[in-house]
Amino acid sequence: MARTVSEAFGRPAIPYAIRPQSKVYSLLALAGLLLVVIIFAATLGSVPIPFAATFQILLSELPSVSIAPSSVEVLGGQLSLEVVRTIILDIRLPRIVLAGLVGAALAIAGATYQGLFRNPLADPYLLGVASGAGLGATVAMLIPMALPWMAFGAVPVLAFVGAAGAVTVVYMLARVGKTLPATTLILAGVALAAFLSSITSYLMIISGKELVGIVFWLLGGLHLARWSEIWVVLPVVLAGFVVIWLHARPLNVMQLDEEQAQQLGINVQRVKITLLITATAITSAAICFTGPIGFVGIIVPHAVRLIWGPDHRWLLPLSMLVGAVFLIVADTLARSLIPPTGMPVGIITAFCGAPFFLYLLRRRKGLAFF
């Protein structure tokens, strides 16, 4: 093609270029913060372990590093390395890592949903994921059953099926010919969520002694975390993040209306469906083990957007890291404040997250979100 704008208007210097340096530094700083938070969270609990010892024990897990102390002084006494390793690696770390993964998954999914729907109220549970998972988990707790994937018990399996199934139904209800209008999708999601929640509520009323377990599950918590669960959630979240992040530029363009995105060469329907499926998959995989932890998916992407701007190429990885840090901190508070059982982390995310978010909102008031 011989004709370019530069031939028509000469070739001026560009006095403007997108400056990504500050965002690269932010990413690195957040990654560092995440590591510090993980180690710090591993020191806290009914048996406080010194930061240095925790750091040494974690580092010794790397191949060809062995700097772990032979015994650790805890609460005035000495504990053998074996005991401290078990506490850190088998009890605390799975919970911390799962918290990070779930926080990352919810934040990525939230950023994706908000971008797709161009709606600040969108969160990962918009299309019925949470109520589908809730119904699945409730059914699993009430009806004793043997499922093929019994390693995890019936609850996560049915929660995942419920979550993915709810979104599939919403998707099929909302489809109009070849298109998927956003408003229809949201309204179908809200309606189906209400319908499924009503069934869950009824089951809770007739549930008897299972009620407390159901309520705890529905509030969301990480107390059941095990390594085996992490090996399921981790690949789904990582793969989902890669798929979504590859669509960051189309997602930016889709912040225009759909017609403009289409005429800029974006296959809007395909991008929408790919991102919906991916965001649903990572949300379902994350919450089927923990219950629908609230507030992370809506607040973290907004906070990131307020601080670092709306470009999804940065918004998605930054949200992932902030979501991980936020949920680890929240869960550490949740299990430290009322020992030994702790409280559902969803209470902490909302109680601590909301005021901080309102502060950001006040500070940047009047600026556009999208």
Binding site: S6, E259, I266
Partner: protein
């Protein structure tokens, strides 16, 4: 590359209700084709059809001899740029970022904008006099500034065909002239094919090489501005009483209205 746009017996509309039927027209490289007609006559619908934003009921639209339904969407976006009427823009992005979105069809999924893409976007901003607010957020811009931004974005696509839907609607008179002068110079220097929907018959007369007048879902008349813009045509199509005089300088048809005498 230059591309002729050809419409053969095109019918299109929304939800099975036809807005336009049996439209035949041709737009040639290096020419500006004006679409005029009253509100609701289907100017915007026709432009959406040519951008393949809505499907045709029947007939075909050819660009450079190729049916647009056979062209992949990203390739179509390299051929055809659209400047929609009062488009929604995301307020949190900067003006430059919005213009840079015009490079989308030139980039694959995995490629990000490079220096040459930024150069193209920046030149488009210079041409449209939008570079002075390049780093401001879109939410802070006026309607006219946003309109110019969308034009810059269309230039950034480096298209062969440009479809403009009322590009001057939000602009004051000097910006109207500026935008249309720019469109005309692109059209002449680069052999761009321009199709432009306009309400202002005087602007249309001054800038269009040929015009298509739409009325009641059909093409009412086609020809040069002097052929189309006559007092009887305007009376029949718009139901408005006007006088049409030759422009004192270039003799192009100029439409004048007369207000009813004030009642007292």
């Amino acid at each position: 590359m230059s591309a002729m746009v050809e419409l053969n017996n095109v019918s299109l509309g929304y939800d099975h209700r036809a807005i336009l039927e049996g439209v035949n027209m041709k737009a040639r490289p290096g020419q500006i084709l004006g679409l005029v007609g009253p509100n609701g006559s289907g100017k915007s619908t026709l432009i959406k059809g040519m951008a393949r934003l809505i499907d045709l009921f029947s007939g075909s639209i050819l660009i450079d001899g190729r049916d647009i339904t056979t062209i992949r969407r990203d390739e179509l976006a390299r051929l055809v740029a659209t400047v929609p009427q009062s488009p929604a823009l995301p307020g949190a992005f900067t003006a430059f970022e919005v213009v840079l979105m015009g490079r989308t069809p030139h980039l694959g999924l995995l490629r990000y904008e490079g220096g040459s893409d930024m150069a193209v976007a920046w030149q488009a901003m210079e041409a449209t006099h939008t570079q002075s607010f390049a780093e401001r957020r879109v939410s802070e811009l006026s309607g006219g500034e946003r309109q110019s931004l969308v034009l810059a974005r269309a230039l950034t696509q480096q298209p062969s065909v440009m479809l403009l839907d009322e590009p001057t609607a939000n602009l004051d008179i000097s910006h109207q002239v500026e935008v249309l002068n720019l469109v005309r110079s692109l059209c002449l220097e680069q052999g761009l094919t321009v199709i432009i929907a306009l309400h202002d018959l005087n602007l249309a007369a001054q800038y269009c090489n040929r015009m298509v007048m739409l009325n009641g879902g059909r093409v009412y008349a086609e020809g040069t501005p002097a052929d189309i813009l006559t007092a009887p045509n305007i009376r029949n199509v718009y139901g408005a009483e006007v006088c049409v005089y030759p422009h004192p300088i270039n003799k192009l048809p100029t439409t004048l209205i007369t207000a009813c005498p004030p009642e007292n």
